[in-house]
């Protein structure tokens, strides 16, 4: 899966401007699905299979967008001020490189701090594109950028920007490639604008009206020095989400996912995330409600330029998803 993930993370797609990523995904999955379309918010929706008598319509969601920045002003000297698209953490910005969708590159600079080492306000930062004036600056108001950080293989672990959620996208694509038989109709949603409030998943869930929802996204880990207290660790398997700050997974779904993992001898962890949510929230609250869960890939340094995942966790996520989808979803 490494080449696929590398291709995906090195493509740029901030919220609302996922076009490049969408095209990469489309070319990967087009031959594998019955139906493919792009909806009003930019979601890429692919349908495969028919519902068998013992099957369900299952919506699988992974978001295409990554956090990014949008230019708000270019000053007289050619420095670009910006706002965030999604939860960009200011402490990761000074000194980072960013790349605009028009290929322009820049580095983020910081006004001299008035006191101490406080995390800077976004308003005290700017992007330096090496221009000398507003007229010679290659970007203007409204241009969008993402972190510039290529994929690197550390052995068992991989780092790159946008593992959140290209790794989820890759898991869905790989699942689609490998699935042989399923009683379910599978509704793959490569969602848009998750990072700004799970907007794409909201409209996709409404239009698809699925029986069950499953998001595939990243989650934090508790295994770094003096880090958050959390039971999820890198390398211990994909995580079955019990809850996060926006959603409580239906306990029957948690039980189902656990049973399937145990029967298949696959490693897994249980996830409780205190801050953060995913597309699963939007799906669960759609229309008359949808029993929804989330398969999480443990990830260190979420929303930093180099997010880290464990390759075995990724591969096990695919295996678990295949096991879940290959047989009836017994939720009782």
């Amino acid at each position: 899966m490494k080449p696929l993930i590398q291709k995906l993370v090195e493509t740029d797609g901030p919220p609302g401007y996922e076009g490049f990523v969408r095209e990469v995904i489309r070319s990967e999955i087009q031959p594998l699905v019955d139906e493919l379309h792009v909806d009003a918010l930019g979601n890429l929706i692919a349908v495969t299979g028919q519902v068998a008598p013992n099957g369900k319509r299952i919506m699988l969601a992974a978001h295409m967008d990554e956090i990014g920045l949008m230019v708000t002003h270019v000053d007289e000297q050619g420095f670009a001020r910006f706002t965030n698209l999604g939860a960009v953490k200011a402490q990761h910005l000074p000194g980072s490189r960013v790349r605009f969708l028009n290929s322009a590159l820049g580095v983020i600079g910081r006004e001299r701090a008035e006191e101490g080492n406080n995390f800077p306000d976004l308003n005290r930062l700017y992007i330096d594109l090496g221009a000398t004036s507003r007229e010679t600056c290659p970007v203007h108001i409204g241009d969008v950028a993402v972190f510039e950080r290529p994929f690197a293989d550390l052995g068992r672990r991989w780092i790159a920007k946008a593992m959140d959620d290209r790794v989820g996208v890759a898991v869905l694509i790989e699942t689609l490639r490998q699935i042989r038989s399923t009683p379910h109709q599978l509704l793959f949603v490569f969602s848009a604008q998750e990072e700004v409030g799970v907007r794409g998943a909201t409209t996709a869930a409404f239009s698809l009206d699925p029986d069950i929802g499953l998001a595939v996204d990243v989650t934090d880990t508790g295994d770094t020095p003096k880090g958050i207290k959390m039971e999820v660790s890198l390398g211990k398997g994909p995580a079955i989400k019990v809850r996060d700050s926006g959603m409580l997974t239906d306990p029957r779904l948690v039980a189902w996912m656990q049973r399937v993992a145990e029967n298949a001898g696959l490693p897994y962890q249980l996830e409780i995330l205190e801050r953060g949510s995913t597309d699963a929230r939007a799906i669960q609250l759609s229309r008359a409600g949808v029993p929804t869960g989330c398969l999480s890939i443990p990830c260190r340094y979420i929303h930093a330029p180099s997010e880290m995942v464990d390759s075995a966790d990724v591969e096990n996520a695919v295996r678990l998803l295949l096991e879940l989808l290959s047989r009836p979803a017994n939720l009782s």
């Binding site: 207290k229 959390m230 039971e231 019990v242 809850r243 926006g246 959603m247 409580l248 997974t249 239906d250 306990p251 948690v254 249980l270 409780i272 205190e274 929230r281 669960q284 609250l285 759609s286 229309r287 008359a288 409600g289 949808v290 029993p291």
Partner: protein, 352 residues
Amino acid sequence: MVEILPLLKKLISISGLSGHETPIRELIEATWQPLVDELSVSRLGSLHALKRGCGEQPRRSLLVAAHMDAIGLMVTGIVDGFLRITQLGGLDPRVLPGQPVTIHGREDLPGLIVQPPAHLLPPSNQNGPVRLENLLVDTGLPPGEVSQRVRAGDLISFAQPPVEMPNELLVGNYLDNRASVVALTHALDELQSRQVAWDVWAVATTQEEVTLGGAMTSAFQLRPDLAIVIDVTWGSSPDSPSYRTFPIGKGPTLGYGPNIHPGLHQAFKELAERLEIPYKIEVMPRHSGTDAIGIQVTAEGIPTMVLGIPLRYMHTPVEMVSLKDIRRAGRLVAEFAASLSGQTMELLTWKD
């Protein structure tokens, strides 16, 4: 005839934390069974109970919602046999140290929320209230046994047994919002002897304390013409501002504000006056903080009303409520339902 006090005591002794309402739902289901025509469960676990109206089809419908979920805690990890916890719903960590709880592990286990000594706490939290992430639950059992019976993701409820107080007051945990569920039950009970033209959906909703998800999705599924939400509201106590709280035992509150249809508010006010039921007006300038937030803007919009039952010390294990207010709220709902007719909707148009 449903006896309010025994029912309430039973309801607050059953677990039903947000997202995990099955135990409480089963009890409510059994209680409502003789009072309604049909029972079903929504996809998010809300209980839908239909009392069919006697009017001609197509019949309009009224939805009356009371959330059945409750706040509590969840185990996030186990360290040396002690449980680390996080909240499920809004909790003031200052009421937690020393509270008896029930851990819903492999089986139910009694536990105690404890405050570690200062030298075992991070320097930033050694004085003042201990943050939730630094509190622990102690079962008293050796670590080996704990890991056999409890794991991360298990739920923890408060274990304060109900205590009867003078003047028909009751103290206990989970009166938010089981008091309203009892009020709704009382309304269904009163309606046994009445003719109601409209269909009435009594809905015990899920997840109000966390996502408002149960009410939103039930309203979408049922698409009522009108909705009433019964929830608890802030009861006065010496330490809370008098202008934002309401005395317990002096009647339910009638919500007023953008989250409430003014025509419905007026209808309830007139009804309370006619029936000589004491009430207070609860001004809610922005929203009601209840299931009504989601219900009002479901699909094409639903005229919504909020009835409040004053509750002292909300979201602590020693909440205090007046049974008289519960009865009054239930009676108001029943009378309102009985008054619904073919003209009701016209009376609710925006008269400009």
